[in-house]
């Protein structure tokens, strides 16, 4: 269920169509949540997560408090009871497992990376880079001098970012081609799904923090992108061809109309 939500959400956002629809559903869900009713009214440490979460990618995709923290969002008295699966706040080193319940692949990549291996000795975990309640949709902007140099030299991170930037831009550009096609009746669900999973797979690369691997795999993604964008171009060529034929037909019809009208004139001259 969770993965369905996560998949459906960004697809809808990509479309830029269901924003309202989706927002509506998310709002409906939070209205029912006793977590938000209680914490929303509080101030300070207990109330701050609510506005932070509201601005997050999780909120946008309908992932609410209980989806991560457990508990019963429908029962005020038992909401935070361990009997109902309430987990509360994870310890620093538990965070990768906490997030990894949904972000399975990313967790594996992270744990295998230098970041993950350093976890026990105070290495960075998920929220160090992604923030917790205000978590945003992952993007290359997370790799920046200010954040990375909190712990180490920016050099290698900059190299990774540079190597990934082109592909990431291409994914975004390709994605932006879809809404206009959808608008004229083209079924773009297939393309959206392919691009969505391509981007997910590609973003997993972030977590390896291995310059050589990133460089190697970026090429592979480039080929896949070429293939998808080739098909998208095919659709666009089709649409352009349609317009040519439509234009020819329109002109011919107008010509036929003018000829008929001239014909009418020949009769008129004899009336």
């Amino acid at each position: 269920m969770m993965t369905v939500n996560l998949r459906g959400g960004p697809v809808a956002l990509m479309l830029g169509l269901c924003l309202f629809a989706f927002g509506g559903q998310a709002v409906a869900a939070e209205d029912d949540s006793v977590c938000l009713q209680c914490h929303g009214a509080q101030s300070g440490r207990l109330g701050d997560p609510v506005p932070a979460w509201e601005s997050s990618v999780h909120a946008g995709n309908g992932v609410s408090c209980h989806d991560c923290h457990g508990g019963d969002p429908t029962d005020m008295a038992m909401a935070m009871s361990p009997e109902r699966g309430f987990l509360g706040v994870p310890e620093y080193e538990e965070v990768p497992d906490f997030c990894g319940r949904c972000h399975v692949g990313v967790k594996d990549d992270y744990l295998a990376s230098q970041h993950g291996k350093a976890l026990a000795s105070g290495g960075p975990q998920c929220v160090v880079c992604h923030d917790n309640h205000a978590v945003q949709r992952a993007s290359l902007d997370l790799i920046n001098e200010q954040d990375c140099s909190r712990c180490h030299d920016y050099g290698r991170a900059a190299e990774i970012r540079a190597s990934m930037e082109t592909t990431d831009d291409r994914i975004s550009l390709l994605e932006n081609e879809l809404p206009p096609l959808h608008r004229v009746g083209i079924d773009v669900k297939g393309f959206e799904g392919e691009i969505f999973s391509l981007r997910n797979e590609f973003h997993r690369l972030f977590h390896t923090v291995d310059v050589e691997q990133v460089k190697r795999e970026t090429d592979r993604f480039g080929t896949q992108l070429d293939e998808i964008s080739g098909r998208v171009e095919g659709v666009k060529t089709d649409l352009a061809e349609r317009k040519i034929w439509g234009g020819v037909a329109t002109v011919l019809l107008i010509v036929a109309g003018i000829l008929s009208w001239l014909l009418r004139r020949t009769y008129h001259d004899q009336e």
Binding site: D187, W245, A249, L263, R264, Y267, E271
Partner: protein, 366 residues
Amino acid sequence: MKPLKMVIDWVDVRLGVRELWTANTTGYLVPGNINPWYSLGTVLLVLFGLQFLTGILLLMHYIPDTEKAFASVERIMNEVPFGWLFRYLHVVGSNLIVVVLLLHMLSVLFMGSYKRPRELTWLSGFGLFNLGLFLCLTGYLLPWSQLSFWATTVATDAAGAVPVIGSKLVEVLRGSPSVGSETLGRFFALHVVVMPLALLGLIGFHLFCVRRNGISRPPFGEKARPARVGEQFEHEHHDDGIPFFPNYTSEEAAMVCYFIALLVFISFFAPQIFLPLDALEPADPFNTPEHIKPEWYFLWAYQTLKIFPSKFLGLAVQGGLMTFLALLPFIDRGEERRPAKRPLFVTCYVLGLLLILAISIWGHYS
């Protein structure tokens, strides 16, 4: 050519088809000052014919099932060869038909052609106008998109304003408490069988009236005649007129070409003006999209319902207006047809038109 002539000779001896042909073409004289507005009926005939054709083609792939309808339309748009073309022609054609229906009606009103002895022509024509709108309404639901679903919900809900039986009436229209598979089933049957058949019958009667009465002389210039009915039936002859065929049909052909050109142009270059974004999302009965608006030709009705304090009053005003229009030949009984001599009528005509236009624009932006 020889064998063709032999076939025609053979049929002619038995059924006298040459005489029929002559009587209805070269021998059928129409007023010499006839104008292009008189060809809108033919344009409508061609446009309706195209709707039948494209409708039959769509019917081969459309599935009237709430679970499958939207996907079947998507398949028509993406997989069936030229399915997109036939669907767009059908969608744009329906809107163009409403435009031409309105133009036809407005020109008949302006020229006073609805008057005696053509009351039945007007009544059948007004019936055709309503049938056309109902065809639009029922066809609208079939793709089972968000737009379809909610437009139909709102449209059928309006019937609830009828006193006493209102809520029951809504359920009968829908076949269930809310729009669902029952509604789709009956709208489908109405759209593809009942209404097209009724339309054919009514068009037949309308054409019969037109042919039987003869073409009304345009009420301009010195030859204008008053609207009168004698003691006995009389066909309006135009002995100084021009042959219907080929003289006037060439003008009709020109008009038909222009309108089809418009239809093709919109279908290829801007079909989305008739397909809002909500038409691209499958129906979701639990999620009303924001800013749902009816089609442009129902905006005036939509806005009237909002203007009046009670829904019943709004509905009554709409019903009153439509009844008034339907019975106009019996209410407006003057013999005068020349617009210049009918200042009161022309004033009401222009003001009424502006009012409907203003209310529609208001409805669009409200």
